[in-house]
Structures are given as C-alpha cells and as structure tokens.
Subunit: 100 residues, 4 copies
C-alpha cells in the first residue's frame, strides 16, 4: 500500500530552534530512499507504507537520542486504491485548475 504523508516532528523541552532535529530527520528519510519535499511546516514523504512508517519511527528514536525528552508529532497520511498518484501529480492537478 503506497502512502503520501506529511510529517511534522516537534521535539519538546529543547532549545527554541528545532532545525538541527529536522535536519537529522531529513537525513534518515533520504537514507531510507524515500521521496521527500521539505516545506515550511513539515515534510511531504512518498513511499510504501511500511518503509515510511519505519523511517518515522527511526526519526523519533534519533530525536530522542539527540536529547529531546518528549516529542509531539503530527502526521497527515493519504492512501488511495482507485489509482496511482504521486506528490507531483497532486500539486500539478491544482496548478492546472488555477491556469484555466
């Protein structure tokens, strides 16, 4: 089952800048061979369900190991069985409507 995810990992009780934790997660996602797009409030991820979920778990383990006692994550997660659809397809589909 393929999934498109939007992942936002927020370490608590650490310094006010979170970018080093986010960067560590980007490395994990890339190393897992997942397609990603970083934006201003999370990261889009595309891949097989199990591979994506294993990478998200690895991100939690990594961020805890970097010193965060607590993590609050928000995940949006879409699956569909009617047809294949990539992250680019989703954006392009909206942009096409806007161009008309």
């Amino acid at each position: 089952m393929k999934v498109i995810v939007d992942l936002c990992i927020i370490p608590l009780n650490v310094e006010v800048s979170l970018s080093k934790y986010i960067a560590a997660c980007q490395v994990i996602l890339k190393d897992a061979g997942l397609k990603t797009h970083l934006h201003a409030y999370g990261t889009n991820i595309e891949g097989e369900w199990d591979a994506v979920m294993a990478a998200i778990k690895a991100c939690h383990e990594k961020v805890h190991s970097m010193g965060a006692p607590r993590i609050a994550t928000t995940i949006k997660l879409g699956t569909r069985v009617d047809r294949e659809q990539s992250m680019e397809d989703k954006v392009r589909s909206v942009e096409l409507k806007l161009a008309h």
Copy 2:
C-alpha cells in the same frame, strides 16, 4: 517505545455519514488489545509503537475494503523517554491544575 496517539481516519468519496467506518476501526483497535478512548474528533490510543502502527495500517486496509477509494488520516503522536505517562495521567494532570 510507548506511544500515545490521536487517530482521525476520514474516508473520502463515500456516504456523508462516516460512523460505520469509524466503528469498524474501533473493533480493530480493541481486537489488537490497545487502550482507546473515542471522542468527537478521533480516538486516543495508547500502546507500543509497532502494535499501534500495525493497527492503524489494518484500519486503512479495512476502510478501503469497505469501499472507500481514498482515505485522509490525521495522526497526532507523542513519545517521551523521561518517564512513563498514560492517557489518564495526561487528563488528570490538567484537571488537577484546574481544581486549584
């Protein structure tokens, strides 16, 4: 790694009432032996990471098999390594503050 999750599964392109899909997911979560609390905008779940994630995947598979071509899920997911904390602890902690 223990996790407290808030799960909100939304089947798309189905009838306007979603309760039969939510009910089917409740059965899956209970059968998985997970502690749950159903509220008006999702379900709190407490358990081990892998068990919770396997149950969420089973929910997606079930809801697709019931006829939903597309599912949009929102998950909030908290882990902490400083101490144990249950769902009841979290609510009680706020209620204690309110009682003073």
Copy 3:
C-alpha cells in the same frame, strides 16, 4: 457557521510538563461559553466559528504571556451544512454501530 474543533496547543521551549498551559486554555474556553471535552491529546470544542476562533487566539496570547516563546498548535476543524450535529451526536453515532 457552527464548527466542531479538536484543539492541541503545544508550547515550545518551556518545562517538560505542559499541563499548566493546557489548564489556562481550558479556563479561557469555558469563560467563552464554549462546550468542551478534554481528552488525552487535545480538547474538543463546539461553537460558532468566530467565537471558537477568538478563543483559540486568546489561548495563544495567554500561553505566550505565561512565558512560551513559541507555540505549535494542531487544529482539526469540521463544518457541515447538510444538518446539525453535536459532539455527542458524533460519538453516539459510532457507539450505536458498535452495539449492533
């Protein structure tokens, strides 16, 4: 326009326990006359769109004034125009399906 919301306000860069901030927000929501249900990963709120949104803004202002330099909030928000539905209706509708 009536709305049913699930609100989860997370102050960053503060102590690891967040319950005093959550409690302060409960007070604001109650004082605003909104119907609420506190659960282990947020608070359900029912009310008119503008009243609910004004209360959420007041929560952010309050939590900042209590010392949080940064806040990360997650809101789920449902509106429907086909019929009236309360928070209790939503839960009861699922429970009825489970009872059969």
Copy 4:
C-alpha cells in the same frame, strides 16, 4: 500576532478528485494578499492571525457553496514572540544544517 499556518481542507461526500476545491481556496488566499506555498498535502500560509483566519473561513464558505455538505480541515499553526521568522527562514534554516 503573525502566524505561519499549514492548511489542509478536505471536502467530504464529493467526487474523488479534490483539486477544483483546493484551487478555489488558492484563489481566496491570493486575493487576501497572503503569502502561500502549495505542497502535496496542504498549503503553507504566512500572515497576520486575523487575516489568515478570515481567509480560512472564506475557504470553508466557498467549498460548501461549491456543493460539499461536509468539510474536514487540518490546520497546523505556529506563533512565536521571540523573533520574526518567515516561511523561507524555516526551510533555509534546515537546509543550512544539511549543507554542513
């Protein structure tokens, strides 16, 4: 109070493709003069709290008027009082960490 938001509006009980609804919301956000970035699972928005919230309400009203009886929206919403930060700052801050 400035806010950075991630908005994901999901009309229910409509056709399986949601892009025409998303496109209509993009128009509303642009017309409101808000800075936006469309990604595969939502839209980043930057602006003043009241202006952003008014635009989100206008999106709900528009999507209902296009025929959706029910809408399920997910909003992530960040405020900070320690310093100014734009959507580009947030992405750049992570990319700088990755470049080292």
